[in-house]
Symmetry: C2
Subunit: 140 residues, 2 copies
DNA sequence: AACAAAAATAGAATAATTCTAAAAATGGAT
DNA sequence: ATCCATTTTTAGAATTATTCTATTTTTGTT
């Protein structure tokens, strides 16, 4: 039996999500690809191995996963949402030049002092700039 | 002469943007409406007073303003981009229940320690949760 | 095997944004 | 003022990410 598949299944069940073939595939994809993929990338990559897969299913699954708090949706790019199954505290950096999105580990997320009565259940920080490679190219 | 219009004009010129009627109108709108409007809201509100206004112009102008660093684009909502002319350090909070987007003042933006070679030129923090009013309603 | 509930599917519909090509406005130089 | 080049605006078409709808398939239970 495949260890990864078991982890995937457990993680879904832990959040009350029935582990169908398609949901397992999307979840496994996110757990093994730390590339912050778009819904379309996930669909395109999974399609060859699940030829009956529909884009609607990918969207349905991603929405369900986000609702249940199993993955995060990243809106660092205006165009399309990106998804991330890593729930350890980290922030995202986008390189203005090459478009890469990198994880940057942090001890904990920053939650500024909020006005009275406001409760926060999640926080995201996005940094934009130039990555090391792009800075290197410019220096030459 | 109108003081606000002068401030608007100066702010555009300071960033090398020719202050056309349309650009002034969009910029003035953003400076006087701290509601984080979408492009569509800006268009709809300005249209009555500038009946020749085109949506493309609103988008062109907003893109120019963001490029030149005069306003920030806020991607706290997946659906549409929102815009903010206030460049003082503050973060945005979105209420999951009523959808309101609030400003929360901070001393300075948080920029975590980045990997070597990475340079950051801007950072945004989004917090999501429930606002005071919605929390109140739930408590009753 | 029969049935109800849940999940997946194809394709149409929606909506935000960008693109295109043409028209209008602007700002010199003559 | 007039001509010309450049910039800006415009309307509408095109694009694209996402959601919706109605149907079919799968799953689990009696």
């Amino acid at each position: 039996m495949d260890g990864v598949k078991n982890m995937v299944k457990e993680r879904l069940q832990l959040h009350g999500i029935k582990p169908s073939l398609q949901r397992m595939a999307v979840m496994e994809y996110l757990m093994t690809h730390r590339t912050h993929p778009t819904a379309d990338m996930i669909f395109t990559d999974l399609y060859p191995s699940i030829p009956t897969l529909s884009k609607a299913t990918v969207y349905n699954t991603l929405n369900l996963l986000v609702e249940r708090g199993v993955v995060r949706m990243i809106t660092i790019e205006e165009k399309n949402a990106r998804f991330d199954a890593c729930m350890d505290p980290h922030i995202h950096f986008r390189c203005r030049d090459c478009g890469a999105i990198l994880d940057v580990d942090v001890e904990a997320h920053w939650i500024p002092t909020m006005p009275d009565g406001v409760t926060v259940d999640m926080s995201e920080t996005y940094c934009i700039g130039s990555c090391a490679e792009c800075n290197n190219k410019k220096a030459i």
